[in-house]
């Protein structure tokens, strides 16, 4: 259902061109049924820029010297901030109870590098840090947690570390009391500094190889609830890039609804603890 498009000239197939450009640059795919949604999300940016047509905006994003800055606005407009603490915990339990112990049993030195590749406003990497802290790993062994998202504003919020009520819908109250402090009289809570500073935050577009390069060499990658917005082609490309650089044994966590079996032969699906986890095939190089 289109809410804003009535105000904007959508002509000459500009919506299709814009859809394909957004797909190419961000991986986000608004198929035929979701075209209006894309136009709705971008219309305020078009108006803000002083244009009256999507086609002009398409040219701006594709050719203008200032396009790089404008893409940050696009990523913000298209980001899906819907996330919360303690989400899909079976996988994080598998990480904390099986993968991490197994890794430190086999490796004496060197940090274990974990990358949360689509961290939105930070709930996922903070959940990982919190679970590791609860299990006694954080601070005891060398673990690096990196968290990134393509949306600048989402990462900014993650850096602030202040959360509203709806982020806590799944977090046990005891943990909330232990790791969060209410900010004054507001209905917002600040995350414990020890957890927050354990994470390195950055803005990274998964489609940008240069931006991805420093992070993709992690041992463990969380990339959950992203592929549902990607086309098959983009998922394959992203997973190929993960497979090429992830450090062995190479664990890839995706959401339960995001099967890669049809799209990648580089990872095997294994049952670890109570969760399904993709593990890089030994011959996938």
């Amino acid at each position: 259902m289109g809410f804003n498009t009535g105000n904007l000239g959508v002509t000459g197939g500009a919506d299709r061109l814009l859809r394909d450009l957004v797909h190419e640059r961000t991986g986000l795919f608004f198929d035929n049924g979701k075209g209006d949604l894309l136009t709705d999300k971008l219309s305020p940016l078009v108006i803000e820029r002083g244009f009256t047509s999507l086609l002009d905006y398409y040219y701006l994003l594709k050719y203008d010297e200032t396009a790089r800055d404008e893409w940050l606005n696009v990523m913000d407009a298209l980001s899906v901030p819907e996330t919360y603490f303690w989400r899909e915990m079976d996988q994080i339990r598998a990480l904390v109870e099986v993968v991490v112990p197994r890794w430190f049993a086999a490796h004496d030195a060197g940090p274990l590098k974990i990358w949360s590749a689509a961290c939105a406003t930070g709930e996922e990497p903070l959940t990982i840090a919190l679970a590791l802290a609860e299990a006694g790993w954080l601070g005891r062994v060398p673990i690096e947690i990196h968290a990134s998202d393509a949306s600048t504003s989402a990462v900014e919020r993650a850096r602030r570390g202040i959360y509203r009520e709806r982020s806590f819908r799944n977090l046990p109250p005891t943990l909330r009391a232990k790791y969060f402090t209410q900010v004054g009289a507001t209905q917002t809570w600040r995350i414990d500094d020890r957890l927050h500073t354990a994470i390195k935050w950055m803005v990274v577009n998964l489609m940008n190889e240069a931006e991805v390069a420093p992070l993709v060499t992690a041992n463990i990658i969380f990339c959950r609830n992203v592929f549902i917005y990607f086309s098959d082609q983009t998922i394959s490309r992203t997973v190929r890039s993960f497979a090429a650089h992830i450090r062995p044994p190479g664990y890839l966590f995706v959401a339960a609804s995001e099967s890669l079996l049809r799209l990648s032969a580089d990872f095997d699906l294994q049952e670890i603890g109570d969760a399904f986890v993709y593990v890089k095939r030994p011959d996938a190089d």
């Binding site: 809410f3 105000n7 803000e48 594709k62 050719y63």
Partner: protein, 890 residues
């Protein structure tokens, strides 16, 4: 096949005369065999190779000489022709392994000797044997690696080892083997596979893999599979039916029809499925017979197959199955796809019973609705008939089902409930606003209910769910009931996330009470909100506006001034002219830009001068706005200034200046635009220049634009094609025709659209050719659409003849169904007896979809058609005149 790509030095050649005396012995062969040319030439072949006769190879040479055939001596059987040591040490072979081809050497039509090639395949075979051994390894990864290598390495012959791998216990290995064989296996390997199927069809793993290979293979496997259908072993017959269904080869239909009488139920089951997959129209009657038996095992697949086939003539035979307790849901599903308006009464009768299969009936009614909406634009007709046929029990069943339904099933229920009326229905619909899966249908239904649901929707404005509130606002706006205005004004004031949709809704309602609330928001920080608010105020068109907007043009808040400029400029209020001109030099850039954009709406002699001043002296954004606004300005000097702006340092100024020159069709600007089109550093400027040249037209524009069709940048190509389509000069045509040969389907589709803008026999001919031959659906669909838009008798005749092509038929029928009234006779020529039956049937379908009395009259001609299916289809369409009265026809 084999896909062998040997280097030249691994193949040696010799020739003989008709008596097998060696004539030529080339250097490569001398090197491979160690036998120099002078030791071989002039000798009888049997003298050089004494074992030739004993090994029965001499007979192969003789056959080449006598019959002119080509003989291949495969290394797997013969190992070698010329005994010689291997060139490199081998762990398996003492003698070089050779692949030998013996071909006839001809002069005119006579065979005068033999041409023999000897290829050293020792290393290749050694590698294949290694990989074969690895395929037998206990470790799955080793086997998988070997299978991958065999499947992907073009230098290897993959078939023999991979055939064995089809039986591997690992599905991964089997998958690689299947893909490798399907892609690369030679016909003889496929033949071996077929033989293997016959012998091993009880080995399920092998059988499944083999059938996958057959289904994916390019090799013609129809004949052996049809033969299997007559085998005495029922399992093999069953598997053959299965494979024939997967192969999608229509030639299998007669054999599969025969298999419907097979003694074995499983064979019949798979034959039914296969006929469905093949969309075998000729099987529809036979499958309807199967469904009518109500056989528990066969009736379901028969109904499913009938649905896939899509022959509507069998729908009346399915209707009685709605009474069958077991089959009624499957029958309803089939009727949803095959039925017509006559199907609604029996479906509704079923829905009106206690314990009705409500979800299945609703899904069928929704499918009928969607099909009628798509094909005939008559979804509302199905809704009307359904509403009249569903009684209170049926309505209650639907409402009950709504409460129990999962999200995935909600849409058809929501759609059908939306057709009904009454307080309970309206309450149910407002509750449905909370379900994203059915929200679109729900809003549409609520809008149809009109002001009766206004109060219910107003209640929803207090919902905690943003999406519900948003949908309620949208629905209220579309209903247009002024009673909603106060509530929407409150939303405007209190619900920051909904200001834009509320402003739009108030604009649709047009209630003057919204004026003050909207005016209070013209200074909002968000540009999108201001845009919505000013748009709504412009829609209201309040008589108070001129007096109220005047002071706002001097408001201290720049946002307010900008909005005021947009309102005053939009209406062109004379009393605001001076202030609008003043705002062109406002301290705020956005206000200046808005003022410049709106100046062309004013009738004042100072306008052009103000625009030109801005174009020369302003900031880049305001200069760009001025360049765009000058498109609407008048006066001989305008073009001169726009030409000057083509050299502006800012790309957007050049972009809008180029577009404005095109808009003004300023022919003298063609050279300057051509320079920009060819060499501007910004692609969007080049595109604007190309577009402008397209509007200016003429020989020189065509000449400038033509080379850009071959650009590497798709946007430039697209613009160039569109521009050439607009240029009527004949020189614009040739580059378009050339671009039709592009390997890029996107380019071909763009060219087709451009050609659709042109008139003339050549363009028509090209469009007909593309529509008939292009393999890419979107390209031939675009060509069909262009032919329809051209709308000449020749274009329509071309479309009619294309309906003979099964692949293109649906696309062509959809285009023909939109033919202009004046050309319906041309469409009806497709009903002439000399036309193929497929064409006649398709034309009936096209005429049947039209909302035209003339089309209905023309359909009458098909009632006497020699073919029963054409007559049945015509009867169906004439019966389904959608309950229209004559005055409903266009």
């Amino acid at each position: 096949m084999g896909n062998l790509t040997p280097s030249d030095n691994s193949i040696g050649v010799f020739t003989t005369d008709a008596s097998l005396v060696i004539q030529i012995w080339d250097g490569a062969l001398a090197r491979l065999t160690g036998i120099p040319a002078d030791a071989a030439c002039g000798k009888l072949l049997v003298a050089l190779l004494p074992n030739l006769e004993e090994s029965r190879l001499l007979a192969r040479f003789q056959r080449v000489l006598d019959e002119g055939t080509v003989e291949v001596l495969a290394p797997a059987f013969h190992h070698y022709l010329i005994p010689c040591p291997t060139l490199a040490p081998s762990k398996r072979f003492d003698r070089m392994q050779q692949r030998v081809t013996i071909a006839p050497l001809r002069e005119d039509e006579r065979v005068v000797g033999a041409l023999v090639t000897i290829e050293d395949v020792t290393a290749r075979i050694e590698r294949e044997r290694d990989l074969s051994e690895q395929l037998a390894h206990a470790d799955e990864d080793t086997r998988l690696g070997a299978a991958r290598t065999l499947a992907e390495d073009e230098s290897l012959e993959p078939a023999p080892p991979l055939l064995g791998a089809l039986e591997d216990e690992s599905w991964r290995v089997r998958r690689v083997a299947v893909e490798g064989l399907a892609r690369r296996a030679a016909p003889e390997a496929i033949a071996a596979l077929l033989a293997s199927v016959r012998e091993n069809h009880h080995h399920l793993g092998l059988l499944n893999s083999a059938l996958q290979v057959l289904a994916m293979s390019d090799v013609d496997t129809l004949s052996p599979l049809v033969e299997f259908l007559h085998d005495k072993d029922a399992d093999l017959r069953m598997q053959a039916a299965l494979a024939l269904g997967e192969q999608r080869d229509e030639r299998a239909i007669p054999a599969l029809l025969g298999a419907l009488d097979d003694a074995d139920t499983n064979v019949r089951y798979h034959a039914i499925e296969a006929l469905g997959k093949l969309r075998a129209v000729e099987a529809a009657a036979a499958l309807a017979c199967v469904a009518e038996t109500r056989d528990f095992f066969l009736a379901f697949p028969a109904l499913d197959a009938l649905t896939r086939i899509g022959d509507a003539s069998v729908a009346p035979r399915i209707v009685p199955l709605l009474e069958d307790e077991l089959l009624r849901e499957a029958a309803a599903d089939a009727l949803g796809h095959l039925g017509d308006e006559e199907t609604i009464a029996p479906l509704a009768a079923l829905l009106n019973t206690p314990n009705a299969p409500t979800q299945a009936v609703a899904t069928a009614l929704a499918a009928l609705h969607d099909r009628y909406a798509k094909l005939f634009g008559e979804g509302a007709y199905i809704a009307d008939l359904s509403r009249n046929a569903i009684n209170p029990t049926g309505a209650q069943n639907l409402l009950d089902a709504l409460n129990e339904s999962s999200h995935a099933d909600l849409r058809p229920l929501a759609l059908v409930v939306g057709w009904l009326e009454g307080a309970a229905v309206e309450r149910a619909l407002t509750r449905l606003l909370g379900h994203g899966d059915a929200r679109g249908e729900t809003v549409e239904a609520l809008v149809r209910h009109g002001s009766r649901v206004t109060d219910l929707l107003i209640e929803q404005l207090g919902s905690e769910d943003l999406e519900i509130r948003k949908s309620a606002v949208v629905a209220l706006g579309r209903i247009g009931d002024a009673r909603a205005a106060p509530a929407l004004i409150k939303v405007l004031e209190d619900d920051t996330e909904l200001i834009i949709v509320a402003a739009n809704a108030l604009a649709q309602i047009g209630d003057p009470r919204a004026f003050e609330a909207l005016l209070a928001l013209v200074g909002e920080p968000s540009a999108a909100v201001r845009q919505a608010v000013t748009g709504a105020l412009n829609s209201l068109g309040s008589p108070e506006m001129p007096g109220r907007v005047l002071p706002l043009l001097n408001d201290p808040d720049a946002n307010v001034r900008e909005s005021a400029v947009k309102i005053a400029g939009y209406f062109g209020y004379a009393e605001c002219t001076d202030l609008l001109l003043e705002r062109c030099v406002d301290e705020d850039e956005r206000v200046r830009r808005a003022a410049i954009e709106h100046l062309p709406y004013l009738e004042d002699e100072r306008v052009t001068a103000a625009l030109v001043h801005a174009l020369r002296h302003e900031t880049p954004k305001v200069r760009a706005a001025a360049a765009g606004a000058l498109a609407q300005a008048e006066g001989p000097e305008v073009s001169t200034y726009l030409l000057e702006a083509l050299a502006d340092e800012d790309s957007w100024v050049r972009y809008f200046a180029a577009r404005s020159l095109g808009w003004q069709m300023f022919a003298e600007g063609a050279d300057a635009l051509a320079r920009l089109a060819q060499a501007d550093k910004s692609n969007h400027v080049r595109i604007a220049a190309i577009e402008a040249l397209g509007y200016i037209g003429g020989e020189s524009a065509a000449r400038f634009v033509a080379p850009l069709v071959k650009s590497d940048e798709p946007d430039l190509v697209r613009a160039a094609i569109a521009a050439l389509g607009r240029i009527s000069h004949p020189d614009a045509q040739t580059p378009l025709f050339e671009a039709l040969r592009s390997t890029d389907a996107e380019v071909r589709a763009e060219v087709v659209v451009a050609l659709g803008e042109r008139v003339g026999a050549e363009a028509l001919e090209q469009l007909r050719r593309v529509a008939a031959t292009d393999a890419e659906p979107r390209v031939f669909a675009a060509a069909c659409d262009a032919l329809k838009r051209l709308g000449t008798p020749e274009a329509i005749a071309g479309l009619v003849s294309l309906t003979a092509d099964a692949i293109r038929r649906e696309t062509v029928v959809a285009a023909l169904a939109q033919t202009k009234e004046a050309l319906l006779e041309e469409v009806a020529r497709g009903l002439l007896p000399r036309q193929p039956v497929e064409v006649r049937r398709a034309v009936v379908e096209a005429l049947g979809r039209m909302k035209s009395q003339r089309a209905s009259e023309l359909l009458r001609r098909a009632l006497d058609d020699a073919d029963a299916s054409v007559r049945a289809s015509a009867r169906g369409y004439r019966r389904s005149a959608f309950g229209r009265r004559p005055e409903d026809y266009s």
